[in-house]
Subunit: 364 residues, 2 copies
């Protein structure tokens, strides 16, 4: 149930008011960066122990994917991902008064599930690079990348099944259900690629983004809550993560069109060049405007140079940019509303708010 | 620890002695066939409820794979597999004095895990048909078959995570560990294909067969035991299923060379035509005989017509056929030995023995 505008406004103001001193640093991303660093040092040993327990043939692919080894098995000090999802798990446990140390296994499980989807998505999307290195399937071949992904998914659920914490069974059921939702999201994403740009509705596009991005952020928050609280708070935390995930996706899509190449590391309008049916594009196409017709015509042909600039301009004039920006703000408002249901004193949820801010501004 | 020959002999005689009247029918496969039929009618509703809970895009692929729907979504009354693994779960629970009705969810989970591996193996091996129909990837494409397999794996583990039975967490951990082992087995199978026929040792080949075939039969028996008994019986049941699984694989490999085409539905010597490094072939190649050298030379070229007959003859003369037959008998002996550790009065394990007999003679 979306809150009335006034309520969201009040909540956002409350957040702003409580953000003084150290908390204000969160808005710059420093606090979140430190939090992510702490999360990695807490969760990585568990994650690595799990990966090292895999049979050799799966282990080497997982070690490579996480950036801990080169393709030839020599050690690498690579970046194993930002650890946003495990950080959400631990922050949610903490915000609800639980002991985050008992949720480390759940945090590792969520990160494994996330990385299993990356391995399979790279195979399916035929993506050649990830984290500035060749993807696992490029190095080890498609068959090995598929089975290594399968093994990582099973490992995630094995970690939870072996967790003696009383919440582990619920956590396991939630993570398994989330994996199914992630699969449905990935399937929808692929199916949309095969359809014309005006054959995908905005509603379908939002549902896909929720399944593909929102579900696992929601699951991370819900698992953290499970290790500290009751079913009601768990549902509210899930909703917080889902809405923040959608806000993240909307911002990411805006960056995909208007992001500064010097910050994103991608060419200007990369998502347009790739004819991606991102949320601002679909919103623009759904508008009954001349600009929508122009955009549809541009999407029917190759997009480069001047055509990219004209397409970006058409998305803007058709209202896609404004819509995505206000949707992102609305989703963040809803996220904070859900969070306040789980943690009435939002000052206790500083880490979660810092992480939500971080993901929605990370590559701007 | 393999039992001494005398002990196995005594156990096998004991089994023969206890098989009078109705039990003797098991040797003809009638009892096993009836048991499998009963298993399908008990487990399929749970299995189908699980599959129907999947998001639509995953559900239709799973429904097709199980033979319950045509590709266009219309109902089909197809064969959803023989249900050997779920039958082992229920029979193991029963043999140990448990209530098999409480293990139905575990039985469905094992069958889902098995079918997830079939979906992915078909993609990886590029197999065009399964159960006399086009494989899922042929009908729905590789990306959808991959994600549907992922979803079925997660569903298997979700069913156990949601099971209120106190053994469910252990069952879930065992099934997840088994999925990892199955992945390693599939990976090894693919890796062997890329190596020369004399570059795969018999030991590696047996380890691969145990991971790819034995592990899930062992897991099925272990899960059944978990729903009725203590850790010690669980380990013995796992060992029973693993050894029976290896016996099954050895017999299957013999059939792949010498099976009667009118029974197998495949051309004579199908595994030789495909240059498969099956256990009798690898055993023959490992022998220091003239026939081994002949076989290696034949495997270096295309195998058809007369060459297939000569290769089969070379496997036989190099001792591969005798070795596989005596290994299969030895494995069944070990299987019965392990079973007798879990169920000292083997008369109570009639269903398990009937199933083990069934899988080792099913397509002869």
């Amino acid at each position: 149930m979306p809150p009335a505008g006034g309520t969201v406004q009040a909540l956002l103001e409350e957040v702003t008011v409580t953000m003084t001193g150290a908390e204000a640093a969160a808005t710059e991303g420093h606090e979140a960066a430190a939090l992510l660093e702490r999360t990695r040092s807490t969760v990585n040993p568990q994650l690595r122990t799990g990966v090292e327990s895999l049979p050799e043939s799966m282990r080497r692919i997982a070690m490579y994917h996480f950036g801990w080894e080169q393709a030839d098995g020599t050690p690498a000090a690579g970046q194993a991902g930002k650890a946003i999802r495990p950080a959400l798990v631990l922050a949610a446990t903490q915000a609800l008064g639980g002991d985050p140390r008992r949720a480390v296994r759940a945090a590792a499980a969520v990160e494994l599930a996330h990385n299993f989807t990356l391995l399979h998505d790279d195979v399916i999307d035929e993506d050649p690079t990830r984290r500035n290195r060749p993807t696992a399937w490029k190095v080890f071949g498609v068959p090995d990348a598929i089975v290594a992904g399968d093994a990582m998914c099973a490992l995630a659920l094995r970690l939870l099944a072996e967790d003696p914490h009383p919440a582990a069974a619920s956590a396991s059921a939630r993570l398994a259900a989330c994996v199914i939702e992630l699969c449905a999201g990935q399937q929808a994403d692929c199916a949309f690629e095969r359809r014309g740009p005006r054959e995908v509705s905005l509603e379908e596009c939002l549902a896909m983004a929720e399944a593909k991005t929102g579900a696992l952020l929601g699951c991370a928050c819900a698992l953290g809550a499970l290790y500290a609280a009751d079913e009601e708070e768990v549902a509210a935390m899930d909703a917080f993560g889902r809405e923040a995930g959608l806000a993240f996706q909307l911002i990411d899509d805006l960056i995909g069109i208007w992001g500064d190449p010097s910050h994103t590391g991608k060419p200007a309008g990369a998502d347009l060049v790739a004819h991606k049916k991102s949320l601002p594009v679909v919103a623009a196409l759904a508008s009954d405007t001349e600009a929508a017709a122009e955009l549809a015509a541009l999407y029917a042909g190759p997009l480069d140079g001047d055509a990219v600039r004209r397409a970006a301009d058409a998305v803007d004039r058709a209202g896609g940019r404004d819509w995505a920006q206000s949707q992102a703000a609305d989703r963040m408002g809803r996220a904070v509303h859900h969070l306040s249901r789980a943690v009435p004193d939002l000052a206790a949820a500083g880490d979660l708010l810092a992480l939500a801010e971080f993901v929605t501004r990370r590559t701007r």
